[in-house]
Amino acid sequence: MKSNRRDIVGIILLSALVLFIGLYETRTEAGFSSLTNGIITFDTIVRVGLLTTVVVGLNLLMGFAGQISLGQASFYGLGAYFTGILTARASTIGLPPFIADGWWWPWLLMLGGMIVTGIFAYFVGRPILRLKGHYLGLATLGLGVVIAILFRENFGISPTTLSLTGGGDGIAGVPRLRIGSFELWPVARYYYLVWIVAILGIILALNIVNSRVGRALRALNASDIAAETIGIDTSHYKTWVFVISTMYASLAGSLYAHFQSALSPPTFDFVASLELVVMAAVGGMASIWGAPFGVAVIFSIRELLRARMHLLLDGSTGAYEVVAFGLILVLIMIFTPDGVLKGFTNLIAKLSAKLRPRAQL
């Protein structure tokens, strides 16, 4: 199929770009950030990879199945805290050292975090996903807020008895990942892991989208009733696509924990959830490919403002950056309502159409 070939080209291009940035970072003296005058750092590229994974899941849920989630950052947090608590707090919980010190343990936790988050999402999702539209948005928002508070409040356990999440201080000292004795660090090594996961996530999502399951998701998005009467178990598909989207978030969360090595609650709060939705919307939700674009665009704008805002406005503070950021978002949504990716491809189509007619005559 046509779309299939385009996807393969996309995967190849993205992989090449990832490889290029990675090699540039390790093989040149100045490193990757010199390419952008220090505005966009190599660290930022890793973060783009982490959130791309989350937004790919969100795109499946929102763009394809049409079910909104305003609490996705909390599932990112579930993965992160699952990993953080069971590694950095291993001795507090009383995990025997031969487990906690094993190189395989954190990898197992990544998988475990996905499964636990998925099971949680399944039981929460079944009742919540009966709601539609704004009501579903509100329910997921509430869920996200509750989970974020549980992180901040140590799951309601008195921190003097047993400190799991570290409350407002969070968790420090999450170890780096290893394969045997090979440490996936410095960051240039970890970078590859993050992006391999992101690209695999994109491939799996593309496969789902271009299948019987993907059609069922789009069908229930277009018309719940028509989908049901054609034989699609809509609540089954809504629940499972929600579960899968939270598993994407959880996996990225675990990877984030090992990357950042420290966790604090604001990373996973309501604002973070909103930002994920903004990234999905800016990239374009109707395509899985919108995810890397949306995340990269948002990060770029923010970093650019942070580095250059003072040139635009003398003595400007962080508050001005937020204002400019908001304005830019408004402009993006006005001029490319279907996301920057769609806007970009439309522009190319228009340009090539302008260049072609002469040749046809």
Partner: protein, 255 residues
């Protein structure tokens, strides 16, 4: 005499104080084309919504091939072999013509999330079969030249045909058509009549809600006439045409 494929047994549905469908009993025989007619608000579409499980039955029963389908969800009913079209066409507007028919085969296919994500051999083989079946069906309804168009780009009459193809894709034993001729011109409704006859030849029983009497008389083996939710006639077209109560319902009572 063979057993009916669908039995409506004193079927009743109330909305608050309003009785939308009142103790309607009727049988649909296999390979029959049966029409349901009646003035606006007579309860025709409500009966469809009851048969397909969109509404719950207030009292009475619906049996499909001898088994009660009351209380089943719409997708379970579709799996048993009943699918429908809608009066105000409900195509999947985010899909191509082909994909609409592909998704129609959902109940007869299997690939789940894992098989799809990892593109297993079985899933790929199934996908090819789905595509082939869809193309065959588009051929059958005469839409083979529109395969890759977005579904909503089709002209109105063709959208109806596409919706019928989508419904047929689930291999129904009973097909419910809700005003398939509404908005069609003369040529189009002639084509529709021919198409519905062909569908019957494929071994699909057809239930038809229709206002266009020309289409009804050209197709129906039996007609169920509803008025204010009550069945006032249920017989062959020639008998129904001369039924006093039917004439009264349509033209008004003589003083």
């Amino acid at each position: 005499m063979s057993t009916p494929i669908l039995e409506l047994d004193t079927l009743t549905r109330t909305f608050g104080g309003l009785i939308a469908v009142n103790q309607v009993s009727s049988n649909i025989m296999p390979d029959q084309i049966k029409a349901i007619i009646g003035p606006n608000g007579a309860g025709k579409t409500t009966i469809y919504n009851l048969i397909t499980g969109i509404y719950t039955v207030s009292s009475g029963d619906i049996r499909f091939m001898g088994q009660s389908i009351q209380g089943l969800t719409p997708h379970e009913i579709a799996e048993r072999g009943i699918t429908r079209t809608f009066q105000n066409i409900k195509l999947f507007d985010n899909m191509s013509v082909l994909e609409n028919v592909m998704v129609g085969q959902h109940v007869r296919t299997k690939a789940g999330f894992l098989a799809a994500a990892f593109r297993t051999k079985a899933a790929r083989a199934e996908e090819q079969l789905i595509q082939k079946t869809a193309i065959d069906l588009l051929d059958f309804v005469g839409l083979s030249s529109y395969v890759d168009s977005p579904a909503t780009d089709l002209p109105f009459g063709l959208q109806r045909k596409l919706e019928i193809a989508r419904a047929l894709a689930s291999q129904p034993k009973l097909l419910l058509l809700d005003e398939p001729a509404a908005g069609l011109n003369n040529t189009e409704s002639q084509e529709l009549i021919a198409l519905i006859k062909q569908i019957r030849e494929r071994g699909v029983t057809v239930l038809l809600v229709e206002h266009d009497m020309h289409v009804v008389m050209g197709l129906a083996d039996e007609i169920l006439v509803l008025d204010y939710g009550t069945a006032i006639a249920d017989a062959a077209p020639t008998i129904v045409q001369n039924d006093k109560r039917v004439i009264a319902a349509y033209l008004g009572e003589e003083e």
